[in-house]
Amino acid sequence: MTYSVGELILIACSYLLFLFLVAWITERGWLPARLVRHPMVYVFSLGVYASAWAIYGTVGYAYQYGYNFLSFFLGISGVFLLAPILLAPILRLTTTYQLSSLADLFAFRYRSRLAGMLTTLMMLAGMLPLLALQLKAVAESIQVLSGAENARTLAFWFCLLMVLFAILFGARHTTAREKHEGLVIAIATESLIKLLAFVGVALFGLYGVFDGPGSMGNWLEDHPEMLSRLYYPLQDGSWHSMIMAFFVSAVVMPHMFYMAFTENLNPRALITASWALPLMFLVMALCIPVILWSAAASNAPTPPDYYSLGIGMVTGGGGALLGYLAGLAGASGMLIVATLALSGMCLNHLVLPASPLHQGTNLYRNLLWTRRVLIAAILALAYLFYRMIGTEHSLVELGVLSFVATLQFVPGLIGALFWPSGNRNGLFAGMLVGFVLWLLALMIPITWPQWRFLPLMDLIGIRFQTGASQWQHVAIVSVTVNALVYAIVSIVTPMSRSERNAAEACAVDSLRRPYRWSLQAQSVEDFINALAQPLGPVTARREVDMALRDLRLDHRETRPYALRRLRDQLETNLSGLLGPSVAHQLVDDHLPYRPEEEQQSSEDIRFIESRLEQYRDRLSGLAAELDSLRRFHRQTLLELPMGVISLGADNEVIGWNLAIEALTGISAEDTIGSRLDTLPSPWGELFSRFSQQDDAHLPQHSVEVDGQSRWLSLHKSEIAASTGEQAGGQVLVIEDVTELRHMEAHLAHNERLASIGRLAAGVAHEIGNPVTAIACLTQNLDGEQDEQELQTASRQIMEQTRRITRIVESLVTFSHSGGLSQALHSPVNVRDTVAEAISLLQLDPDHRQQPFDNDCLAEHWVQGDAQRLLQVFINLLGNAADASEQQQPVRISSDRHERGIDIRVEDQGHGIPEELRDALFEPFVTSKAPGRGTGLGLALVYSIIEDHRGSILVESPIHDNHGTRFVITLPIADVHTPAQEITP
């Protein structure tokens, strides 16, 4: 049964239009997202691997090499069975760094434009036979079915059709950032159609040629040579190497790389693909022996490559069309995807590096058109190759040419993932040697049999082999030599720092260790201006906006950490647009780091931490234990009830714990990566001033927060530069002592009330005298008529009243002093303050007779709060008077020296019992009888003196087992300076 060429071309056009319709519907969003992102869509889209080679070529392969055909399917199944181990790292890399092809990956990993360029050129050369195979298969299938004479013309028209559809499917967007959902769904549909049609062909054979499986079994019994032909190749040792060849080439083939990684819509679908894709290929592989035997049994009138068509031609009933459709689907899917992938590689690694970016707003359009031209050029090259090699080569020969070529990338890929010491020199040397071997021992002898390099063939022992049969040998030799050269050259040649960084970024189970270098650009606007030069202002702004959106950052961002992330994101995004080499060069040139910073840079701890969080589930063994330890320490620091701020050497905040978050109300997210002085007021100024001061402690510093005073004690410690790249820094500990301060104030208030209570009797007495005087004067006034006398009495009454007022005022002032209001430090005259304390004490009847010798010098001024210092002296003098016998004087003297003014309070009393001396300044410690003292006085004195940044010492006994001396040292006041708030 034959078909006309017109009918077959119409079927091809209708099929492609249907696929385009599917893609178009998807892109319009008419298909539910759940379906589009369903893992099975990804699995079917990977079916692009089964090109026309799988539909036609593998049947011919099975005919020629028996069970070896299974290696084609087992290879890719093996890769996907191990997907979580082998493919997930590549997917992570390609997604993280926007790498859309193997050339991108190599250029990124080996930090070399040349690596991308070489990979692209070699991939292009290596893939030409496989692309030509597709054109040949479709053209010849039309020829087989229609009997048309000129397959080349058919191939030409099919090639044109492919140019059109490849552009329609994949070259409507520019950047790899946008996934082509339409393309993915169309390729998945294509695979489904291909699978159904291929199974249909096998069923035609099974039930059309035979009468079912039983009948086929009987036929096989009658034809044991068919089975032994299938088993025979298992006896030679090439089977392993073939599986390995297909195993690895399945990943590096550009169309597979593109569908598996670049167009991956759902990363978790890789897990589903690990069992579903092998299942799909199992079904296809199961059909091949059935098709082979059916064709043999029915004497199909076609070469073995086209048995899939031959069965239908014998049985009729549309079986041949099914075979044609399966082949067409396989060929068109592979051509579209491979051309798109190759065009992206050529654009990023051949065109863009060669032509400088033209400034302007139409960058995206230029890229799109360049890509379209490249698609047409690649397909034209494939057609030219097809024309050049003639028609006598089988599909098998063309297929193996490509498979062995792609094997040359495998050592480089394995090195990229698993061997951080592999370098670009090794890659170049290995790939070139492998490629030259492939070219001389396989490509040239097969395509141009008259050109043979006999010495080389002698050397690798393939002199007497011909055609594709030598490919297994060449595959093993070339890839082994490639790997050896790669390893040896990598070991003996040095590696640059940027290449080492990239190698660590790519290596499985390793973390990239970025450095905290400062950028020259200090704001988002600087970024836009810097990029406007190469990209044009509109594109630059768009790219920066996009990167900011990706990172969820704001336009006002100035934090060094955030700007470094922005730079990385821009490089990643531009890599999706222009390829990693161009993007890296562009970002390096226009967004450079400050050169002077490089030497003192330290590792970006924050970034490493966030990476570790992502990698958590993948750590095991020692690494997992170390990570648990890290978490424990980190959590300890986070939960510490004191605020902790870690600073880098450049004053960049790298740690900000929960307590400091609660204290300042600023979240770690907003702070980390900022410089300390950029924090909001009052924190920025306070912390940065403290971090720069010499003194490592700042006790009880008052800060106004939301209209309320808070007291903080600040401490700091230098982090010494440890080994490695860490450049040291500081850790600040901030203690909120507001509560303590409130408690102290409360205690002080109680103490004052107690003092007032003790003074009350004296006060009554003091007030009693003037009141008596007033009473007498008033009585005398009764009968007094003399104006002069009246005025004198009135003046005396006023005087007595003023005396009362003075007593009351000094009491009221004393009882209200020392609250939590903002303390004012001003020059305080020591002698006057001591005198006031004495006069207050002498209100107390117990102390009225107590002699106090105020020997303080009038020119001694200390810096402090007069009211609180008054409290200090009242407490100390009161204690001294309590300890002294009647008439034993208490002496107060002052002395000036470099560090401050010493004020001595000495008594001749019984001294302090030895057991109390060490705990003297602790609350509730007293030597007085119960009911006489609260034990809070000296604690309060200590606290006030500490607040004044002074010191207090006690000596007891001072003479012959009696006497006590308190020495207070306070800072000297400059009497010319006005009062100021407490400052360090």
Binding site: L82, E221, L230, Y231, L234, H240, T272, S274, R618, A623
Partner: protein, 58 residues
Amino acid sequence: MYTDRLLIIFIIGAYLLSPAIIDWWSEGGRAWYRPYLIWLGLIALSYWVARSRDTDDL
């Protein structure tokens, strides 16, 4: 670390078992579908691993 170990075990296991598997396979005679059974077994194993795997790994 963990993944490398798994890979090494798999490769060594496959290498050690392959002669036995190939022998069993090539003695199949009419049971030409033997390799498919092994293949199916591997798929079932992979399905079971995928089901029990924490997909957050990706």
